[in-house]
């Protein structure tokens, strides 16, 4: 009996455990950080503490903006803990999708069946997109739910835009991991590529904000492209969102092309 998108549905059902685990992690992060905003970000004592910190440090951590609810959410959740969890999840999925599968010897048997390599890459990429979207929607719902109780005063439209950038940034890491995994057939190279996008993006942003001399680093940081104008505070730059998603789409296509031309499992 022919089923619709068999590899896609399998990828989703196979990963429900990890998806659930990351969902719990993100829920925990929202629940821990956001409700304490009134006693941290909004308190004058905290503001004095932050003022006492070296300005380089507050800039690196984006803590220069945590005096407001949206700035606090941007800096702590989207900019730090949520970004970290989401990047780890998506890099893992991206690297495992093709490179990890090939390395473990499973891909050979899949490809011996009635599927094309392009189909394998595309269906598994789609499964990653769906998982990232699901986690992002979860974050959107959680922040929205805590918006009132935690006195965050976030504009719903700005939140939606920030969540879209949050998802697009994760997808960029995921598709970089997918592409390098498909190119090399090795999971570890995929992980390295995906992690490089996330970590270097973060580091370039943190360093680039320190002084005008190294500002050019910001141009190399996807993290800065997405979060440079604090989307939770100011609303998303839709062009950036489209650009990030476009690069991800291109990486997926490249992964399919790389896969198409290669010997598998050697």
């Amino acid at each position: 009996m022919p089923r619709i998108l068999p590899l896609f549905t399998k990828a989703l059902t196979d990963s429900w455990r990890s998806t659930l685990a990351w969902a719990l992690g993100l829920t925990g992060a929202c629940m821990l950080y956001l409700p304490i905003y009134p006693s941290i970000g909004g308190s004058s004592q905290m503001q004095e503490l932050i003022n006492a910190l070296p300005p380089q440090m507050t800039k690196a951590l984006n803590y220069d903006q945590i005096a407001t609810g949206p700035g606090y959410t941007q800096a702590t959740l989207f900019g730090l803990i949520g970004f970290l969890l989401m990047s780890m999840a998506s890099v893992g999925w991206g690297a495992a999708a093709v490179g990890g599968d090939e390395e473990s010897g499973l891909l050979e048997l899949t490809l011996a069946h009635s599927v094309t390599r392009v189909q394998v890459v595309l269906e598994r990429a789609l499964a990653i997109v769906v998982r990232v979207a699901a986690l992002s929607i979860l974050v959107f719902v959680l922040v929205l739910g805590l918006n009132g109780p935690a006195q965050l005063n976030i504009d719903v439209g700005h939140l939606a835009g920030a969540v879209l950038l949050f998802a697009a940034l994760a997808l960029l890491s995921a598709t970089a991991a997918l592409f390098v995994g498909a190119l090399t057939g090795r999971k570890v190279f995929g992980v390295a590529a995906g992690a490089a996008v996330a970590v270097l993006g973060y580091v370039f942003n943190a360093v680039g904000r320190q002084s005008p001399k190294v500002e050019w680093l910001l141009n190399l940081s996807p993290y800065h492209w997405a979060y440079g104008n604090s989307p939770v505070v100011n609303g998303a730059d839709w062009g950036v969102a489209a650009g990030l998603l476009g690069i991800s789409a291109a990486l997926i296509v490249l992964a399919a092309v790389a896969m198409q031309r290669r010997d598998v499992g050697v």
Partner: protein, 341 residues
């Protein structure tokens, strides 16, 4: 007769290392074709090329009349493949795994899955990570057979299977062939192939040493001969054996008289080729005991391996050279026949 697989000039390089040096062979539709050779000879690489998992560096391949590189999914639906290094997912059951492969393969009757699982004595509802190597192999076989493919490509199919299950496997192969399928299988042990295969290719270091039928191997093979005779002399027995073509390594001695009513001559020798001439000569003797062993095909193959070495290095130092040459000749004939058919 049509050919299910035709391979011409197949070469494969990994980087600078060439692992297949221009293979030529053809597999007739509806037959079982076995490839034997030591590990690393190129059996797995050849099979992966047939499935388009690996792309040849040179040469042409035709599988069921199509180029696997271009044929796409329709062709692979008609093939059942068992990888040599079978890896299965851990967190699933056999049934769920087979369901998935059924979804990305030809139509599968659920009843047939159960039937095969019963025959192989395999529990489909156990977690795959808890299965023994043999049981994993059974799952691999099941996914290759379950959509009743026209061509089965099986890399070391009996590895890890106990003898009873191996018999069951050979029966499945026979049934598939009776139903019109072609089977291409590999092994590093000849005894496995000789049970199942109609034709055998011997692969070594990326070259086909010979293509032959199991029958041809059998006639080329060396049998051990041992008999006791009374009322004769050692010299006479020696002379008699010398007249028989294919007899070598003759050793004749007189047994000590104690315990024997008459003077007994014991002879041992090896025989290659047909037995008729030997039987005629032996009929002249008054035999008290005769043992003519089943030919050891394993030995025959080793002879062929050695034979090709010798051919490359001046044809010396081999006692069974005649046997080797004859068999190589037979192989060539068969190959020619296949190409012109």
């Amino acid at each position: 007769m049509t050919q299910a697989i035709v391979v011409e000039g197949l070469r494969k390089k990994f980087g600078r290392r060439e692992v297949l040096h221009g293979l030529d062979f053809a597999v007739e539709a509806g037959t079982v074709f076995g490839v034997i050779g030591p590990n690393g000879a190129g059996k797995t690489t050849t099979m992966r090329c047939l499935l388009d998992i690996i792309r040849p560096s040179a040469g042409t391949i035709s599988v069921l009349g199509q180029d696997p590189r271009r044929a796409g999914t329709g062709l692979r639906r008609r093939i059942g493949y068992l990888p040599g290094e079978l890896q299965l997912e851990n967190r699933t059951t056999g049934r769920r795994m087979l369901d998935h492969f059924a979804a990305i393969s030809g139509p599968v009757e659920p009843r047939y899955i159960n039937e095969l699982a019963d025959r192989l004595n395999l529990d489909l509802d156990r977690q795959t990570r808890k299965l023994s190597k043999g049981n994993k192999q059974k799952l691999g076989l099941l996914q290759a057979f379950m959509h009743r493919p026209e061509l089965l490509v099986l890399d070391e199919p009996t590895s890890g299977l106990d003898p009873l299950v191996q018999q069951q496997f050979h029966a499945m192969v026979r049934e598939a062939v009776d139903a019109g399928a072609t089977v291409f299988l590999s092994s590093h042990v000849l005894s496995e192939v000789q049970q199942a295969a109609d034709a055998v290719a011997i692969l070594r270091d990326g070259d086909i040493v010979t293509v032959s039928t199991v029958e041809a191997l059998r006639t080329a093979a060396v049998r051990q001969l041992k008999f006791n005779a009374i009322g004769t002399r050692t010299d006479d027995v020696g002379a008699l054996l010398a007249r028989v073509p294919g007899v070598a390594n003759v050793a004749v001695r007189e047994l000590p008289a104690d315990g024997h009513a008459a003077r007994t001559v014991e002879a041992t020798a090896s025989l290659s080729g047909p037995v008729q001439a030997l039987v005629q000569e032996l009929a002249r003797l008054n035999l008290t005991d005769l043992v003519l062993e089943e030919p050891d095909l394993e030995e025959a193959v080793l002879t062929l391996y050695a034979g090709s070495d010798v051919a490359e290095s001046d044809n010396t130092g081999i006692s069974d050279g005649a046997a080797a040459n004859r068999s190589v000749g037979a192989g060539r004939n068969l190959k020619e026949g296949a190409h012109h058919a």
